[in-house]
């Protein structure tokens, strides 16, 4: 077995720690090395956290921070040239997928994103990734290495032993001119809710006729001790709820114990966000709504009658 060098990078510290643990789980042999790259602008404790997560070495790139994907990709390209990894793991965040694509194009490397399992396989890598808007799992084989794999958050390994005397090095890279010029950064409205951590969720869909009726949904959620979720139209189109409530392919993925879908038709792009829920209740006036095929308890009826009755029945 040849020694592997797995390089891990994410702009998000917690994601990067998960990548280091995953990389260690892929390389139980003593000869392989898990190296993490920290780019300028990262938190001051990033290197410590990556060592604590099990990295053999942390390489910190000096210089000015930049959110420009070209600059970041060029820094990673310099790290790749210096460290000759057999695999580069990045987080499948929006920035992670973008930098993965840029770097793959620049290096002519294979790449896969949205990956949920990784297995080194001879000269290649076998991955499972989401496909068909997240409702199917595709098994793909990357036929050559080095390659870039962007993994979903939560795809990680057990906490490995911390490496004694882990190496910490500064990596100097040639500067590159950014392709984009920053103008401003605006935090998204809302953004406080971490719906992916909720144990109970009441999700409202297009069945809601007007924004004022949200009160009825919130009352049910309060009674259940649940967070309020929504489908794409309510966040992205009408803006009745902020993006942090949005569940689906381009929204959040949730895995609560109880998921109550109210007036949600069940488009595949929504189902991917909620399919890991333990118990699913669907309330919809259309008996043929696709959500019913994904539900444990199904009520075909008018949400404007069912929801208040349910709130009352639950003691609200």
């Amino acid at each position: 077995m040849t020694a592997e060098v797995i390089l891990c990078y994410s702009e998000d510290d917690a994601v990067a720690e998960g990548l280091v643990r995953l990389a260690r789980s892929l390389t139980p042999d003593v000869a392989s090395r898990v190296r993490a790259v920290v780019l300028p602008g990262a938190s001051p404790e990033a290197a410590d956290r990556l060592v604590a997560a099990g990295a053999h070495a942390v390489h910190t790139v000096a210089g000015a921070g930049s959110s420009d994907p070209h600059v970041r990709a060029e820094m990673l390209r310099a790290a790749v040239a210096e460290l000759s990894p057999t695999l580069l793991l990045v987080g499948s965040t929006k920035r992670g997928r973008e930098v993965a694509g840029r770097l793959a194009g620049a290096l002519d490397w294979p790449a896969a994103t949205g990956v949920t399992t990784v297995r080194l396989d001879g000269d290649g890598i076998r991955v499972e990734r989401e496909a068909l808007s997240g409702n199917a799992v595709a098994v793909e084989r990357i036929v050559r290495r080095p390659a870039i794999v962007a993994v979903m958050s939560g795809t990680t390994g057990p906490a490995p032993s911390v490496v004694d005397g882990a190496e910490r090095r500064e990596l100097s890279v040639p500067s590159s001119s950014p392709g984009t010029e920053p103008v401003e950064v605006r935090p998204k409205a809302g953004g406080q809710l971490e719906i992916e951590k909720a144990d109970r969720i009441v999700t409202i869909g297009r069945g809601l006729k007007k924004k004022e009726d949200l009160g009825m949904i919130e009352a049910l959620a309060r009674t259940l001790g649940a967070e309020v979720g929504c489908t794409r139209p309510l966040a992205a189109e009408s803006g009745w709820l902020t993006d942090d409530h949005w569940i689906g392919l381009t929204g959040h993925r949730v895995h609560p114990t109880l998921y109550v879908a109210v007036g949600v038709s069940g488009a595949v792009q929504h189902l991917v966000g909620m399919r890991s829920s333990k118990i699913v209740v669907a309330i919809n006036k259309d008996p043929n709504a696709p959500i019913f095929a994904q539900a444990d308890y199904r009520i075909s009826g008018d949400l404007y009658q069912i929801v208040p009755a349910l709130t009352k029945a639950l003691g609200g």
Partner: protein, 263 residues
């Protein structure tokens, strides 16, 4: 200021995820036989390209890489507003991975006039890798902005609102630039009878990889899809009904108590 904006827009004739069914026993999806349609986000890209052309002039060239049947996606792009359409196809298209598709897009756009602005969906409805746009820019070393939810043309480039998980980053980039768009950027217009008729008469230029300077061995897949399956998540599928909303609600409460998920 660019005299005449050369806008390219890539459209994928991808799997229609809403019509795709898995085999009941194995859960396997027969990707080859699946119904196809224009990938959702790519329609937003065509719409955006068309709006830019309507406001600032220039030309919109739609390009698709894949099966001969991808002509349908190109006709739809013309019906929305594209001026020209190019199909890159060859035997073996089904094995082309994101690397091959990005290389073909770079080669074809370069060979057929070049671009100032290259628009794509931020991902495809079926594969959703989000790699093609950044790969094109990485290969060319040009500017690129992914996840655009607003795009403004400026004298020498673009001003883009980039939609990230927790923030919106506003950036400026000079031409040539690759921009990938999300669904929030616009609502694609529906083709009318007249635009569809016009699109059906428009010639689609068909080229092979060799025509744009790429040999078959430069397109050998680096990633091979082995299987696609829909994981089975068993659901109880219990229908709850009753004579009144209160009765239905009471029965659901009792069922949820039985599950131990409500007190």
């Amino acid at each position: 200021m660019v005299e005449k904006l050369r806008i390219w827009v890539a459209v994928k004739h991808g799997i229609d995820v809403n019509l795709t069914r898995a085999d009941r026993t194995s859960g396997l999806v027969h990707v080859d036989a699946a119904p196809r349609k224009t990938s959702d986000f790519d329609k937003n890209a065509v719409e955006e390209a068309t709006r830019i052309r309507e406001k600032h002039g220039g030309t919109v060239t739609a390009i698709s890489v894949g099966a001969p049947a991808a002509r349908e996606a190109l006709r739809e792009a013309i019906a929305i507003g594209a001026d020209e359409a190019v199909l890159v196809t060859a035997d073996g298209w089904a094995q082309w991975d994101t690397r091959a598709v990005a290389r073909l897009l770079v080669a074809a756009s370069g060979k057929l006039g070049g671009f100032d602005l290259f628009l794509l969906g931020e991902g495809s409805t079926d594969h959703f890798a989000g790699l093609i746009g950044p790969r094109i820019a990485g290969e060319l070393g040009c500017a690129e902005v992914a996840y655009a939810r607003r795009l403004t043309i400026e004298p020498n480039g673009v001003l883009v609102e980039k939609d990230l998980e927790k923030e919106v980053e506003v950036v400026r980039a000079g031409f040539p630039v690759v921009v990938t768009v999300g669904q929030e950027i616009n609502t694609p217009r529906l083709p009318t009878f007249m635009t569809t008729l016009k699109a059906s008469k428009k010639e689609i230029r068909v080229v092979s990889p060799a025509d744009v300077g790429l040999a078959a061995d430069q397109l050998v897949p680096s990633v091979v899809a082995e299987r696609v399956a829909v994981p089975e998540i068993p659901r109880k599928l219990v229908t709850i009904s009753g004579a009144s909303p209160d009765e239905v609600a009471g029965r659901l409460r009792d069922a949820l108590r039985g599950e131990g998920v409500v007190p």
